[in-house]
Amino acid sequence: MFIRSALIGLTLAATATAALAGPSGQHSAKATYHSGEAASHAGAAAVSGVATVAAVPIIAVGSAIAITGEVLEEVGTSTIETGAGLSHVGRPDQTINIMVMPNAAPTLD
């Protein structure tokens, strides 16, 4: 009887609704925009679609900042895949076991 109860419990545990949000319609919508790539100096990639954008970081820290133009984006219209060619999609990194000594505590000075 215990075994049967335990099996019921395990079955429920394995089939209970996952808290991780399941695939959303947004994803399938977004997938249609991923039709191409264009590398920038950053190694980032852009895709073409209804409202394709390219974005380049403005590196002049300390300069004045202003939001210009229409910045609102419809959801799903401005997604850009970044670095797809450099990441290892579907293949987790191998564990690094090399012993490395840490540097000193971080400081900006």
Binding site: A13, L20, G43, A84
Partner: protein, 266 residues
């Protein structure tokens, strides 16, 4: 007795999902009016611009906080980068772009790097309550150097785990990638072993309390819930632990919450 055991089994099954932190999904089901989301995202953009932030670390809440494990306030973290943005029609404007590591929808064990807009970042938020870290300007410059280089993608590990151990390279989630980029920027290195050594030495991750039974059964529910990269203690990178790390080493300029009412202190 049998009935009791069945109740116990059901109770255990129902408690299993509670430590899944909604990960870094690109856009879960929209629970908030999207007009409200867009207005809020723009308000945060303007707030960051007023503060002169070229880069900021921003976190969102993707689930009801009451369902999150103790110590976890936010479910997704990303860099917001002030950028020159060009549209398909050639028009240009300046604003923030969000550099995300998103969990794949069709395979929760895999992630990808995606840039999107502030409105898209909050599209799947459960509530409009962001955590914001504006790094010290010196650090912003270092961060931008890394984000705009191949190192940003090089430090991505597509093997996704909700509770990835930030001290190891086995798995990674959005917060760990954010931390790896931060440490790479601080030490001027793209060497993963060196980055992990420095994280182990100087960064205190958030301990997560999970019962042994729940931990044992979680991977059966989703492989992304694996804790195989942890020892007996489960510790992961969170927005709050990154905020504590940056405050402890004087690396941040401002740390605050941002709600539709505006900026608030924690």
């Amino acid at each position: 007795m049998t009935r009791f055991l069945k109740y116990v089994a059901v109770a255990l099954a129902l408690t299993l999902p509670s430590f899944a932190t909604a990960g870094s999904q690109e856009a879960a089901a929209h629970t908030l009016p999207q007009v409200e989301v867009k207005t809020y995202a723009t308000k945060l953009e303007r707030d960051l611009a007023q503060r002169g932030a070229h880069v900021a670390i921003v976190a969102r809440v993707g689930r009801d906080r009451s369902t999150l494990p103790a110590g976890i306030e936010y479910t997704h973290v990303a860099y917001w980068v002030y950028s020159q943005i060009t549209r398909a029609d050639g028009t240009q404007h300046k604003g923030y772009r969000v550099y995300n590591l998103y969990q794949q929808a069709d395979d929760g064990t895999v992630s990808r790097l995606v840039q999107d807009s502030p409105a898209e970042f909050f599209a799947g938020a459960y509530t409009l309550d962001a955590g914001v870290i504006v790094p010290d300007p010196k650090l912003q410059k270092k961060l931008l150097g890394v984000i705009a280089s191949p190192t940003y993608a090089k430090l991505h590990n597509a093997g996704y785990s909700v509770l990835a151990n930030p001290r190891t390279t086995d798995f990674q989630n959005c917060t760990e990638h954010t931390l790896d980029i931060l440490v790479a920027s601080l030490y001027g290195t793209a060497d993963k072993a060196q980055i992990k050594a420095n994280i182990t030495a100087h960064f205190d991750p958030q301990p997560i309390k999970i019962g042994g039974f729940k931990r044992l059964l979680a991977p059966a529910k989703s492989a992304a819930l694996t804790t195989s990269d942890h020892g007996s203690r489960i510790e992961t990178a969170t927005f709050s632990s990154i905020a504590r790390f940056m405050a402890a080493y004087d690396l941040s300029d401002q740390i605050y919450r941002f709600t539709p009412k505006g900026a608030q202190s924690f």
